[in-house]
């Protein structure tokens, strides 16, 4: 098992190298010279050149790349061209927020999806199933920012139960942290739940027709055991795939929902960086997003190994 883990981690290294190249290279493709941008419209050529030299933009690309990679590995992602804050600090502030939001959204989506998928698969074709299928189609179709606005309208403005926007760190006030997290997490979670329900329902229906489920019944196992143990372990594989993709998307792409609810997550940082061509910040965020994706894939592979002994290394 340990060997598998080590091997799996080692195989991600080429991926990471490739990604750092791309991340670094992408910036070169973006139109506009950061030195010009920083210097402002009235700067002289000399001023721009001075800035360029200060940022190291005049050196050979490979040298720039190497500098960037080595300092990134040391935790130094450079300094924002605008706020002059260390990129690592900005990301360090925003990442826990995004992670809390993603975690809560994932939890909510699972709490909705798993029971709903089981019930609608077991009662296929009944009204329960039709309602669930319709619900998940709606959940997939509705844009999340719209859903977020509706939630704000109902739960904050009309009922006054939950705060409409903002974020409070957990360490400061756990209760306020939770109440601020509920609406954005619910908004993100419902979209995820809709997708997961659909996948899981389909795979449960497939597994229910397998001979080994009949064997489990023939053994006299109770329905709960047949479904909870024999069906679910096999039916979870596609769900895990979907979840892996969802985590990655939640951490990198909750931009709209973060905007609607004023949550200071990575999405906010990303928007600010992109609109101002704040290259070190963009690089940092893309790098973090890729790392998250790589870690998620690793976890997904490990869970596959648990669910399906055939893919386990021996």
């Amino acid at each position: 098992m340990l060997r598998f883990l080590l091997l799996r981690v080692l195989t991600t290294i080429p991926v990471l190298v490739l990604v750092t190249f791309v991340v670094f290279g992408l910036v070169l493709l973006i139109p506009g010279d950061p030195a010009v941008t920083i210097a402002g419209p009235d700067a002289t050529v000399e001023q721009v050149a001075a800035i360029r030299e200060r940022l190291g933009l005049d050196r050979p690309l490979l040298v720039q790349y190497w500098d960037w990679v080595t300092s990134a590995m040391a935790g130094d992602l450079g300094t924002s061209l605008y706020t002059s804050r260390a990129v690592a600090t900005s990301i360090g502030d925003a990442l826990p927020v995004s992670m809390a939001l993603a975690g809560a959204a994932l939890l909510i989506s699972l709490v909705i999806a798993v029971p709903m998928a089981i019930v609608s698969a077991l009662r296929r074709g009944t009204w329960v199933d039709r309602v669930a299928t319709l619900g998940s189609s709606l959940g997939i179709a509705l844009p999340s920012f719209w859903l977020g606005l509706v939630f704000v309208l109902i739960f904050s403005l009309t009922l006054g139960w939950l705060p409409a926007t903002g974020y409070v760190p957990f360490a400061q006030d756990p209760v306020a942290w939770l109440t601020h997290l509920v609406l954005p997490a619910l908004t993100l979670g419902i979209a995820g739940a809709a997708e997961s329900t659909r996948q899981l329902r389909g795979s449960i229906i497939g597994v229910l027709q397998q001979d080994y489920v009949r064997t489990a019944r023939a053994k006299g196992l109770r329905g709960r055991m047949v479904v909870g143990k024999h069906v679910m372990k096999n039916a979870s594989v596609p769900l895990v795939t979907v979840l892996g993709l969802q985590i990655t998307a939640l951490l990198g792409g909750a931009v709209l929902v973060e905007q609607v609810f004023g949550v200071p997550g990575l999405g906010q940082v990303a928007i600010a960086a992109v609109t101002t061509r704040d290259i070190p910040v963009i690089q940092g965020i893309v790098l973090i997003a890729v790392l998250v994706a790589v870690v998620c894939n690793l976890l997904v592979d490990l869970v596959y190994g648990y669910l399906n002994p055939k893919v386990r290394p021996r």
């Binding site: 397998q210 001979d211 080994y212 009949r214 064997t215 489990a216 019944r217 023939a218 053994k219 006299g220 196992l221 109770r222 329905g223 055991m225 143990k229 024999h230 372990k233 096999n234 669910l307 399906n308 002994p309 055939k310």
Partner: protein, 341 residues
Amino acid sequence: MTRTLPVARTAATTTLEVEDLVVEVLTEDGWATVVDGVSFSLGRGETLGIVGESGSGKSVTCLSIAGLMPPRQTRVRAGTLRLLGQDLTALDQRQMSDIRGPKIAMIFQEPMSSLNPAFTVGDQIAEVLRRHEGLSRKESKARAIELLDRVGVPNPARRFGQYPFEFSGGMRQRVMIAIALACTPDIIIADEPTTALDVTVQAQILELLREIQREHGMSVIFITHDLGVVADVCDRVLVMYAGQIVEGAPLDELFEDPQHPYMEGLLAAMPRMDQRTDALVSIPGHPPQVGAFPAGCRFHPRCAYVRPQCTDGAAPPLEQAGPTHTTRCLRHLELTLRGTT
């Protein structure tokens, strides 16, 4: 007014009594009968063979006895199923699950797909013991290893922790037998247990089943389409065609003196070692589709001895053709059918 309880008709030697079982499945055109008025009894320690082509209703009969037909798409329309005097049709799903395992156990055709790929073989045996005998994890593991040993799986302690994909077909079928055997049931229903196996492995599995039956005095229902297997293991045989029993007799009598043209056809189609023929014999035509059983004798479109009286009205009744021999042929008294010699 007091009524004395009716004396149980089931003698101590009868484990299972099936009476007028009617099973229907939901098709596009509504409910269609797949098992039509099947009755038989099973003695203690007896091996009863049920033969017939696919679609004859033999598997449905047995799955219905075990309560394993999918609800909503299938229903037991009529009939009683009495297991050791207890009426199974009166039980709900939960009560039936208490019966499966300790009283009725099943072995299925496909050893490749009948075991759950995601759990160890040992766990799949041990969970039966935990469920029905309330054993702890440790106790159930010890018993499961004993069972693996009993069914002839070498290295049982090591094999306990392995997954089905690490087993061959024959070994998996041994595991299925170990699962069926776990709670020493009164009846084992074996649904084509050797069909998917190599011939040599087939013989080993049949021998194992015979041994186990002798050891524990279990009753076995053996579903198969292979008359060779029937001849090997069964005491008595029922022949099913289009949802009905068309003939029933002790093994030797059935093979030597068949009383239904369908059985004669099956025997003629059986390849024989002692006769080399140029062409394989087969019964002409195909068995009818569910929901489209012919009027009169259901076998008449394929029967070489068909007469006008066979072709319409209700299906002929099951008649005695001897003290222990029944047939559903109107002409059984006038016909002399060829058996094996």
